[in-house]
Amino acid sequence: MAIEVLGPRARERVGRLDRIWEERPGLIGWLTTVDHKRIGILYFFTTLAFFAAGGVEALLMRTQLASANAHVLGPSRYDQVMTMHGVTMIFLFVIPMTIGAFGNYLVPLMLGSRDMAFPRLNALSYWLFLGSGCLIYTGLFLNMGPDAGWFDYVPLALKRFDPGLNIDFYALGLIFNGISSIAAATNFIVTIFKLRAPGMSLNRMPLFVFAMLAVSLSLVFALPTLTIDCVFLELQRRLGFHFFDVGHGGSALLWQHLFWFFGHPEVYIIVLPAFGIATSIIPTFAKHRMVAFPLVALAELLVAFIGFGVWAHHMFTTGLPTVTLVFFAAASMMVVIPSTIQIYAWTVTVMMGRPEFKAPLLFIGGFIAFFVIGGLSGIMFAAIPFDQATTDTYFVVAHFHFIIFGAAVFPILGGMYYWFPKVTGRLYHELVAKLSFWLTFAGTALTFFPMHIVGLLGMPRRVYTYQGGLGWGAYNLSETIGAFVLTAGLLLIFGNLLWSRFRGPYAGPDPFFGGTLEWTTTSPPPHYNFAVIPRVTSPYPNWDRADRDEDARRLESGELVLEEGHETPASTVRDGYLDEVLEMPSESWWPITLGLLVTVLFVMLLLGHFVVAGIFGALAVLALGGWHAQEPAEA
């Protein structure tokens, strides 16, 4: 609601909120912030830097593979770059971008809350993420980057075959990164269940938030197995344990089972937020609420759940018993159904409404096209004989890039355009945005589609070069050209956003007439998000004009403005009745301090200075004590 139309009493209340929620200015403000929006922006720029690094790695690989027997990268460098591309895009770009940046910025806004449930934990997640990302990249810059592929199979990753620090950067980096993700996921679960605006029962919760809930639950259950796997690996590499040694009763397949028990849910962790973004953009531009809303919410949760029962389809050639193969093939097919529900819900919604194909919706169209292609090649892997023929070839590379780039990153790009006016208060350039879509779309298709063919022709994945005369050259060259077209498209997107950030026209609070609560507040939103906690009576509260007028009246009368302190309301888990008013913590030095101490702890573990690491561990515990000494008083 616009400030100008406020009455004098309302304006006074807004002024009081401004003073209560204000954070310190300048750099110190950013270092000590607990504001979910600022943390989201920190996440955004950090993950963007990692995205750039992962992109450069991809271009290096594509340049090396543009022709047979090329010498751009030697095998050692190539293996590091290849491994880091995977690790970066998954752990340092897509997950922190969707959960850290989009989730952090948008979830409290969509819920009508003033912050995340644990604002300082939220800041800690960011600092830990930054520390772990820098730790992993230090390895690459020292020419000791992880080099056994992103799934890091043993025995290749054991000390006998990889004696340097390469794999230790990987294992410790991911253990470290996991702490950050688990903290973030826990924070989201609590926020989503407890901090919804009064009136937002679960069936009125935005589908984006359902997706984030599914992702957070997946993370909490999946990540510990990766952490355990990496702990086993480090124990074996550093202290001579035998978890993966056949000669001592261990098993090389143990790594794979634990890894993929995390690794397949991970795929849905990557792609579910994208579904969430799609279900935000489509109703806005189709001007119609999502068709089959409860079914879509259920489908999002189901995808995450079934995703835990399909991991062995990554291991169909390892010699598992046939019964096991068939079970996992059946489970892998089942996961198709919640996905098709969503695909048809999206398309039928577009059909029911009056679609306006602005850039964000174009990106969602591209997303649906790529998701269908990637999904169909995914179904093929549930046909065991087909999987056994094509696994570990470029056909797989094609498949998962259609999923991860086409289906996960396209909505992220569309989402950047969609929420850009909300975050910056300015509009992007529509024509350039559309152009950038077509460029990225063409680049993606040109890069990844030929990989299907070259994979079927017999090109294995993860080769640093290939011989001429096998008929692979032309496809590889077109993939490389595609990669550069794609890069141009991405640069155009970021150029557009950068230019619009300073030159774009002012957007106002709600340029697209979105349905969810983030569009009810100003652009950019104030520190406290909402001057009055909004009233919610449907899944698309911003389309309920009467409720928004009611908000304005409540701001005038002071109901649910909470202008006495740093406060936000909590509601009951299922029905969203007002439960209590929570006192929220203010800015703090503890998260960054703790993040720094834990970073040093991991560096010391990496260098094998276990005593020094112990000292920093103890200091971290002390810092936690200091943190708790500063709890906000109970309201």
Binding site: D79, A252, G458
Partner: protein, 289 residues
């Protein structure tokens, strides 16, 4: 599968087109409101996939699966052991003394039971034109059926990332008429033939008095190393270093002079010798037929 893909795509494209072409609101293009739309989602999103997936499941995972599964024990006429190494394939014929590398010979139209294991990390045995792939996992032998309908050469390559030279771990499978195969196998089982020329004799001396012999086996000599490929009949093979180089005198010499340049990171060190010794060594190895 392609038909299914085309139909799925067609339906979605049609729905999107209808959505775009229409102007009135809250009704489907062919009539019906919110309830009909939900029905459409239920029908296309649940009912259709269940039918398609069930069909695919029965067809692929019940019927086709049988034709690619590991062969039942008594259904094959012979066995071959393949051991994956960083970065070459060791090939053994059980019941004979024959050992070779990076080249598998099989009789045509014969069911062969191939047993795959590994000496170090996980590799994956894959000859795309003959069958699916199997992983070579430590302590877990896997079996696969190898059967060629037509005589010919079939290229295979390691499919599981196995380190620096994963890209150069290829092999040839030669399917020969049975008589020719039997002759080849009998040759392979024999010890190495003695060098025929003075230069080759000097080459043998160089081989046996240098580190070569501690890594390679040449049956019939004192060289009994187990690290690198068996070289007893190296001269009969078509390629060197798992298909990196063609097998001829010049390439052999190039390889011997600097194996790390030809295949960076491979396990064979450069052994410094005089020019004459390199030439002699190449002559000797080429003569191992």
């Amino acid at each position: 599968m392609l038909t299914g893909a085309a139909i799925g795509f067609g339906v979605i494209a049609l729905l999107l087109f209808l959505g775009w072409a229409r102007r009135n609101r809250d009704r489907l293009p062919f009539g019906g409101g919110e309830r009909a739309a939900t029905g459409l989602v239920l029908g296309l999103g649940i009912a259709v996939p269940i039918v398609v997936l069930a069909t695919l499941f029965v067809w692929a995972d019940v019927f086709v699966l049988r034709s690619t599964a590991a062969p039942s024990p008594r259904s094959t006429q012979m066995a071959i052991d393949v051991v994956g190494h960083q970065w070459f394939w060791e090939v053994r014929y059980p019941g004979t003394k024959a050992v070779t590398a990076n080249e598998i010979h099989i009789p045509v139209r014969t069911r062969v039971n191939l047993v795959g294991t590994t000496a170090d990390v996980i590799h994956s045995f894959w000859v795309p034109e003959l069958n699916r792939k199997i992983d070579l996992v430590p302590g877990h032998p896997n079996r696969i059926l190898l059967e060629a309908d037509r005589p010919g050469a079939y290229r295979g390559q390691c499919a599981e990332f196995c380190g620096l030279q994963h890209a150069h771990m290829a092999m040839w499978v030669y399917a020969d008429p049975p008589a020719r195969f039997r002759a080849w196998l009998a040759d392979m089982a024999k010890p190495a033939r003695a060098p025929a020329t003075p230069q080759a004799r000097r080459g043998r001396q160089v081989f046996l008095s240098n580190p070569c012999a501690s890594c390679h086996t040449i049956r019939g000599t004192n060289a009994q190393g187990k690290v690198g490929p068996d070289l007893t009949h190296l001269g009969t093979r078509t390629t060197l270093a798992a298909l990196v180089l063609p097998n001829n005198r010049a390439a052999l010499e190039e390889w011997l002079r600097d194996p790390q340049h030809v295949k960076p990171g491979n396990r064979m060190p450069r052994v410094p010798l005089s020019d004459a010794d390199y030439r002699a060594l190449a002559a000797y190895l080429e003569g191992l037929r």
